[in-house]
Symmetry: C2
Subunit: 333 residues, 2 copies
């Protein structure tokens, strides 16, 4: 392996000069720098990151932590996140991927191993981890789940507004009897989406019928069960907002099973816009959650945090968008 000392020998300078030249120090004369860079390239020099890390105390790795990769994390979620991050992150940073539930010793999470950490959070239970990271003084950005703590950089989608827009749209299509299949209890996203749902109904002066609030937990199965129950109601709703696409798919299957035409009898609206929502039959109308954009923005914030540690934490919202497909029928008045 080539080291800076080898280059120094060839170039006839000290290894210090080589180090400086290669790191863009302003102290080095242009001709010297050019010569050294040329030689380094010719010799295929590659810096030793361990040595670099040891002295600079930077690890050149960014940790991406999901609540869990075992369960609960939808696949496209993970992919979109990785995509967004690698768009922004410099190539010579390492991006490591982990599930928080796989971290058994918080001791392994220290500044020396991670220059920065991104948490793609889906659950309150991540808080212990998040606060450990914060306590350790590792630059941190929490994505996807809205935090109460203003002391932590936080990038999320504007779920509430997104749901409101979707329901507004369905209301304009003539719907009046709206049901909601709620997300997992206790999740901020569940309550935000529910709130957006209610905001819209209230704005349209539509009644909030308690029969139309069905429990769910973001799983396909729970969507199926909740929809099945709604269909058994004496006066079933005409439109059902499902708090995520997985549940919408479950709900659609329940409709098939009960011979309830979608959207003829039941209109469905999802949330997330996962890859398969366009290939359901009929294709699902849904609210697109911009995971890639959230990840990109979050990574930008993290990079800024690395460069300017005094940057103030803030809460940033990324806009959702309504994706109109085929599961919302226009109702005759």
């Amino acid at each position: 392996m080539i080291t800076i000392k080898d280059i120094a020998r060839v170039a006839g300078v000290s290894h210090t000069t080589v180090s400086r030249a290669l790191n863009g120090s302003p102290l080095i004369k242009k001709v010297t720098r050019d010569k050294i860079e040329k030689i380094a390239a010719e010799m295929n020099y590659i810096p030793n990151y361990s040595a670099k890390s040891l002295v600079t105390r930077r690890s050149f790795t960014i940790g991406l932590f999901f609540s869990s990769i075992e369960q609960g994390t939808s696949a496209s979620f993970l992919v979109d996140a990785i995509k967004g991050i690698s768009h922004i992150l410099d190539e010579n940073f390492n991006l490591t991927v982990n599930g928080i539930d796989g971290v058994h010793h918080f001791g392994n999470i220290q500044p020396q191993r991670f220059d920065g950490i991104l948490v793609m959070s889906q659950s309150d239970e991540d808080n212990a981890f998040i606060y450990h990271v914060k306590k350790m003084g590792i630059p941190l950005v929490v994505l996807n789940r809205q935090l109460e703590d203003p002391g932590i950089m936080n990038v999320v989608a504007n779920d509430r507004e997104g749901v409101k827009e979707a329901i507004d749209y369905a209301a304009r299509q003539g719907h009046q009897k709206f049901a909601i299949i709620e997300g997992k209890p206790g999740f901020k996203s569940s309550s935000e989406r529910k709130q957006g749902f209610m905001d819209s109904l209230i704005a349209h002066r539509l009644p909030l019928n308690s029969d139309y609030f069905a429990a769910g937990d973001y799983s396909i199965e729970s969507g199926y069960a909740a929809m099945a129950a709604l269909l058994l109601l004496e006066d079933p709703p005409t439109a059902v907002f499902c708090s995520n696409d997985d549940m919408a798919i479950g709900a659609m299957n329940a409709c098939y099973a009960h011979k309830a035409d979608v959207p003829g009898k039941i209109s469905l609206i999802g949330f997330d816009d996962i890859m398969f929502s366009r290939y359901t039959n009929p294709a699902l109308t849904t609210v697109r959650k911009p995971i890639t954009e959230i990840s990109e923005l979050g990574t930008k914030m993290l990079v800024q945090l690395l460069q300017q540690p005094e940057t103030q934490p803030q809460q940033l919202f990324v806009k959702t968008s309504l994706v109109i497909r085929q599961t919302v029928a226009e109702l005759q008045q």
Copy 2:
């Protein structure tokens, strides 16, 4: 930050002794070791991995490389792979995730940065990368795509046998007119699956009708197009094997669009068993590709390669399994 020297001072021994004690060297007396371990724990000592790496020349990171994370890689694929790997991999290894198409300087891929590399390969184009890794002498296991080179550790599914079983099953249900929508040309998986398809037809003494071999490229859209063409045939097939689930979903949508009942008129068989194949309508009968198991086995092989570098490369097959759902009809003779 606490270092071994701090511990040494407190324990009244040399830092070398501390290093040895903490690394399980047999040279250290039990009482000394116990004392040192106790002190280390009390002082919350965490080893500095950069320093460790520098001297041991190990990086404690394993690289997982996909052909691309931007496109072509189905999401569940990525998740299942990460799952399988993290099941096996020791917690104090870092797992980094990258797309090969995102690696612009092969120079960054060197032994010093990766103790080992797993390539989840989906394309011939990965070969340049694979051979670079091999040339660099980095322990390497290639997953998912069958290689011709016996010099590289390779773990794949037994696609051919899997497809044969599936077609055997459909033949037992009375089907005789079988079509195939092929995978991306040039891919080993495409030809293996096609071969399994033909193996079964030949075993059942069924004709190989060239009209029934439709081109595809593993995309949902290509499945749609190919199916649409098959339906326009004068004498359409009764069963269509789609070389992956994505194309099967495309094909199913084409059937809907052309009012061809599935499985009443057309029976469909997929390959992969992605998460959504159970939620299509009707639920897709498919061949399950054991990505998690492939990743687990591959990781085991890599770990072995790290510990015993002289381990001979081999090609390992993991069995697929037929998942019978609702898209294959039983035909009256």
